[in-house]
């Protein structure tokens, strides 16, 4: 048998039902596509999987072996059988949620998710340094900034207990163009974006960027720095970009 290639057609089973897919597809995505509910914090279909939150656990039977595995970074393969709600999966997920509760005890997103699975409290100790930190270290913000925005203004720093998501030196992220994509994708809403007095302020990355005023309607829309970057990348002149999307669309 030749080795399967990414994109080859495969047939596999979820809860006893047969489905078609492509070799290498994210199992989590397939599960959701077919209506199976699987929780996650660190997955987004727009970027590569990272496998850090451990919430998307399922059981996969491959040949004779059956094991619990994360589904977001599990590539769909010919003949596998997937079980999404076994006793083992529920037990493991509960522990994972308890651990999350001890790491980000105040995060509403984490608490809501835990409650959904019947986990209201954690037996694990909450470290002082984690008490007010809602970041679950899912890395979605930096993956989006790397893979979609191509700016890489932020990244993981330190490791172990000291692992953080930060701008370099936890000072102003000078590379950040203020697009807000990271804010949009953050599952715990802990980055913080405000606009006041013509400035977009991104709290977690200590970034303040003046907003461009639309030359037609006078409304402030995107950070000027971001428009400059777009202009550089696309070759569209900065003047054209000084008109807000709403006005631009109405012109056409």
């Amino acid at each position: 048998m030749s080795h399967p290639k990414k994109g080859d057609k495969v047939t596999f089973k979820i809860e006893g039902r047969t489905y078609d897919g492509r070799y290498g597809d994210s199992l989590l995505e397939q599960l959701r596509k077919h209506g199976y509910e699987v929780p996650s914090l660190c997955y987004h279909e727009a970027v590569s999987p990272y496998g850090s939150c451990r919430l998307c656990l399922v059981e996969v039977k491959k040949g004779k072996k059956q094991k619990v595995t994360t589904s977001c970074n599990y590539p769909v393969q010919e003949g596998i059988e997937v079980f999404v709600n076994t006793e083992k999966v529920r037990r493991y997920r509960k522990v994972v949620l308890q651990l999350h509760l001890s790491k980000t005890p105040k995060s509403k997103a984490v608490r809501d998710l835990a409650a959904e699975y019947g986990v209201m409290e954690t037996p694990y100790e909450v470290q002082e340094q984690d008490k007010d930190n809602d970041c679950v270290l899912c890395g979605l913000c930096s993956r989006v900034c790397d893979e979609i925005v191509h700016v890489s203004a932020i990244s993981f720093t330190g490791r172990g207990q000291n692992k953080r998501m930060q701008s370099p030196y936890d000072e102003t992220a000078e590379a950040c163009i203020g697009c807000g994509a990271c804010v949009y994708v953050c599952p715990t809403d802990c980055i913080g974006l405000q606009e006041s007095d013509g400035i977009r302020h991104i709290e977690k990355w200590h970034r303040d960027l003046p907003l461009q005023t639309c030359e037609k309607c006078g409304k402030q829309f995107f950070p000027t720095f971001m428009l400059m970057e777009f202009s550089k990348r696309t070759g569209i002149s900065k003047d054209q970009l000084n008109i807000c999307p709403a006005c631009r669309n109405s012109v056409v």
């Binding site: 930096s142 700016v151 890489s152 203004a153 932020i154 990244s155 993981f156 720093t157 330190g158 490791r159 701008s167 370099p168 030196y169 992220a173 000078e174 590379a175």
Partner: protein
């Protein structure tokens, strides 16, 4: 670090981002720590994001982002050394030099660091002073080693 020196290091590693770790180690070997400006310059020259350089610099315990003392004293706090009294050694240095673990004396004479196992457990408790390994340490030996450092310095 001046540009020529930095360029020599970069060239030695073919300006290859895959050699970032080795590049940072070379910079630290010269500067005793990783200066921010050097890391920025490395990012620029290798055309990689500054955040990635910073990320690597903070990942490895061997890197320091702050200037360190003239002498570096590293006490192993791995399990084997710990049970043989490594904590007492740390206490002793902290007391005698008025320095916190991970910190540097005000006069920049000494930086005290701790690590978790350097793979020479049989020699524990173990201490590394300016790259030289000292095994089977005790209070008296520690005193002698550090006193020697001071004397050396006084002569210079």
């Amino acid at each position: 670090m001046d540009d020529t020196k930095l360029n020599t290091i970069l060239d030695k590693h073919h300006r290859d981002p895959a050699e970032l770790l080795a590049i940072l180690m070379d910079i630290q070997a010269v500067e005793n720590y990783l200066p921010k400006d050097d890391m920025k310059q490395v990012a620029k020259e290798l055309k990689i994001p500054f955040s990635k350089v910073y990320s690597m610099a903070t990942f490895f315990a061997t890197f320091s982002l702050e200037p360190r003392g003239k002498h570096i004293c590293t006490v192993c706090m791995g399990t084997a050394c710990h049970v043989r009294g490594a904590a007492r050694l740390v206490d002793q240095v902290q007391r005698d030099f008025e320095v916190e673990a991970g910190g540097t004396t005000d006069d920049m004479f000494l930086t005290l660091e701790t690590v978790n196992c350097v793979g020479a457990c049989a020699l524990g408790p173990l201490m590394i002073v300016d790259g030289e390994y000292h095994g089977n340490m005790d209070a008296g030996k520690l005193d002698r080693v550090l006193r020697k450092l001071k004397k050396q310095d006084a002569k210079e």
